[in-house]
């Protein structure tokens, strides 16, 4: 498959601070590629380097096969959707969309046709004469995308464009954006700090931290097989324990945590007996009242502190009997545990295969 965007060892330093640290990746034509990271991790700087607003201190950026070194943003085949969209308030919707085409000196008739066609495509036919401030948040979103797509860029860059939207609208736009991308087939590079946006929409997600990519993988792999503790913590909720490896066989290890409790978990080969390690277990991997027959599970009893009811996404906040650490346990969606109240003791367990174990750096 053709590579639309290739970033090779891109580095950006501001004085002594390294914002982006030798990042390399490639995006194939038509992919939805997300860069996910906390604020300040360097993802915006990386995107601005691709768009051409920042010059890399070192490394190469190649778009559509051409090296972009020294080429200014107005001559790159990549367009950027800004966080606050940056629609021109002094122009109508049609003038906004035509802006880039006019810069290319296309004919009036061609411009008119293309504007009408792209308005159809984003589902807003006949909106050409509206003013920007007459549009709703979701409509502005789609016009901003239309304004870039009409230029038929090799790569469309998106800088957290859903951040400014209302909660309900954001949920809806996630699905809409994914659908639109698969229809037009343009390569999307999307940056966000919202793991749910990245997981739902993307073909591939890169998790970025302190200027580096920690892991690049498909959403499902990222969630189920995080390769670093940072990824395990940042992508999805987790319960975390620290302890020492007391014993191990080929695939699993036994970890002794602070209060002497022992857990068996799937373990990487690099982990030896005596190493300190960090264990992550997802709330939905903790099973309430597990099948008593299943003797592979790690089992324990907890006291329910409070029920965090949140519809399909409800959880229990519980505490080891006698301990002072909180454990978060997902409540199954089938309402079979509706009877549980704060203060109840319940049995819980988890399968060693769903544990995620990392050696702890000394």
């Amino acid at each position: 498959m053709q590579i639309d965007l290739s970033v090779q060892d891109a580095t950006k330093r501001f004085g002594t601070f390294t914002a982006v640290d030798a990042v390399s990746f490639e995006v194939e034509t038509g992919r939805f590629f997300s860069i996910l990271g906390p604020s300040g991790c360097g993802k915006t700087t990386l995107l601005r380097m691709i768009a051409g607003f920042e010059a890399p201190t070192a490394g190469r950026i190649v778009i559509g096969g051409a090296d972009m070194a020294g080429i200014p943003p107005n001559r790159r085949p990549a367009n950027l959707i800004f966080q606050h969209l940056a629609l021109f308030p002094m122009m109508t919707v049609a003038e906004n969309i035509a802006f880039g085409l006019k810069r290319r000196r296309e004919s009036k008739a061609a411009i008119q046709d293309k504007v009408a066609a792209i308005l159809d495509r984003v589902g807003l036919p006949g909106f050409g004469n509206k003013k920007i401030d007459q549009l709703s948040g979701g409509q502005k979103q789609r016009i901003a995308i239309a304004r870039c797509l009409v230029l038929d860029p090799a790569v469309l860059l998106l800088d957290e464009p859903l951040g400014a939207l209302d909660l309900k609208l954001r949920e809806q736009m996630k699905v809409e954006l994914k659908t639109l991308q698969s229809q037009v087939g343009t390569t999307f590079v999307y940056i966000t700090h919202d793991q749910s946006e990245a997981l739902v929409m993307s073909d591939f997600v890169a998790v970025m931290n302190r200027g580096r990519f920690e892991q690049v993988d498909a959403p499902m792999t990222l969630y189920r097989h995080p390769r670093t503790p940072f990824v395990a913590r940042f992508v999805g909720e987790s319960n975390a324990w620290t302890g020492e490896v007391a014993d191990r066989d080929e695939t699993t290890a036994t970890l002794v945590v602070a209060d002497g409790r022992r857990f068996r978990s799937r373990a990487p080969e690099s982990l030896s007996i005596g190493d300190r390690a960090e264990l992550f277990v997802r709330p939905e991997a903790l099973i309430l009242q597990p099948d008593p027959e299943n003797d592979r599970l790690n089992r324990f009893t907890v006291t329910v502190r409070t029920i965090l009811f949140d519809g399909a996404n409800s959880r229990l906040l519980a505490r080891w009997s006698g301990g002072d650490e909180d454990v978060t346990i997902a409540l199954p969606q089938n309402r079979q545990f509706d009877h549980i109240r704060a203060g109840d003791e319940v049995e819980a367990g988890w399968d060693p295969a769903s544990g995620i174990l990392f050696p702890l750096e000394a």
Binding site: N74, R75, F82, Q83, A86, F88, F99, R103
Partner: protein, 285 residues
């Protein structure tokens, strides 16, 4: 609404508004009345348009009037052309912590009285001044040149005095311009000039018009700078007014001139607003 009454602010504001009213409206009505009266041969004051007739009959009056208007417009334009890049530089290019220092530079003209400043220039530029001295030494000139009392020097002085009044509204209007609009235009293929004419100027228009109004007004009504720096042929209309009041002691004629100046400025500003399709309340905001 509830808040207004709670803070009882109208209580504070009523005297202020009244005071402004008394200082603005009453004097102008009085000025109009004065300008329509003359002293007849018997020493009685009677109603007459003679003061206005004088203005049109005496070429020196209306020529000065026209000169003042044209030069004020020129000064406003020059000030704008210089102030726009300065304001852009201050708001968009320079690091915010150095912004204070630059704004300070712009406050400098106020540090010293207009009078003292003009004298400073006069000392610098006169025939026996430093500039002439230097140019002679360097062999660029054969004999000293009089650099004072001409239009160029006067315009330079007026532009310098006006700078702040143009830069401040431009800075405030450019600060409200989202950087990403400029970047978006650039990203969509625009070059520097397109960004300037399609994005920056349309956005800054209210600030430009507001700055231009103030600069135009201040220049039109300036007395000291044209009086001291301008030459014999560079009479400013305020000098005509001053002469009527002080030299000729003809207050009625002076009032007529004052009122004509007021009409002129209102007319030009009205034309400017029509031209840029702005209205006053937009501009002042």
């Amino acid at each position: 609404m509830a808040r207004t009454s709670r803070w009882h602010l109208l209580f504070f504001l009523l005297p202020v508004v009244l005071w402004l009213f008394l200082l603005i409206v009453l004097p102008h009505i009085d000025l109009l009345v004065m300008s329509l009266r003359i002293e007849n041969d018997d020493g009685n004051t009677i109603w007459s348009l003679a003061n206005y007739r004088n203005f049109f009959n005496e070429p020196i009056y209306w020529r000065t009037f026209a000169r003042t208007a044209v030069y004020s417009i020129i000064v406003t334009l020059i000030t704008f052309v210089i102030a726009l890049p300065v304001a852009f530089y201050i708001t968009k290019v320079v690091a915010p912590r150095r912004r204070g220092f630059l704004m300070l530079l712009l406050l400098l003209p106020f540090w010293v009285s207009e009078l003292v400043r003009v004298y400073g220039w006069m000392i610098l530029l006169r025939e026996s001044g430093v500039i002439n001295h230097l140019l002679l030494r360097m062999g660029i000139l054969d004999r000293p040149v009089e650099m004072l009392y001409n239009d160029a020097t006067m315009i330079m002085g007026l532009v310098y005095t006006s700078m702040l009044f143009m830069v401040v509204p431009l800075v405030s209007v450019l600060e409200s311009l989202d950087d990403s609009l400029i970047e978006a235009a650039y990203d969509l293929g625009a070059n520097m000039w397109t960004v300037l004419f399609k994005i920056i100027i349309p956005h800054a228009l209210p600030g430009i018009v507001s700055g231009a109004i103030v600069v135009f007004m201040l220049t039109l009504g300036n007395y000291l700078t044209p009086n001291l720096l301008g030459g014999k042929n560079s009479l400013w209309f305020t000098e005509q007014i001053y002469n009527q009041f002080i030299a000729s002691f003809n207050w009625n004629q002076g009032s007529a001139f004052g009122f004509l100046l007021l009409l002129l400025s209102s007319l030009i500003i009205w034309a400017g607003l029509k031209l840029t399709r702005q209205n006053l309340s937009q501009v002042a905001r």
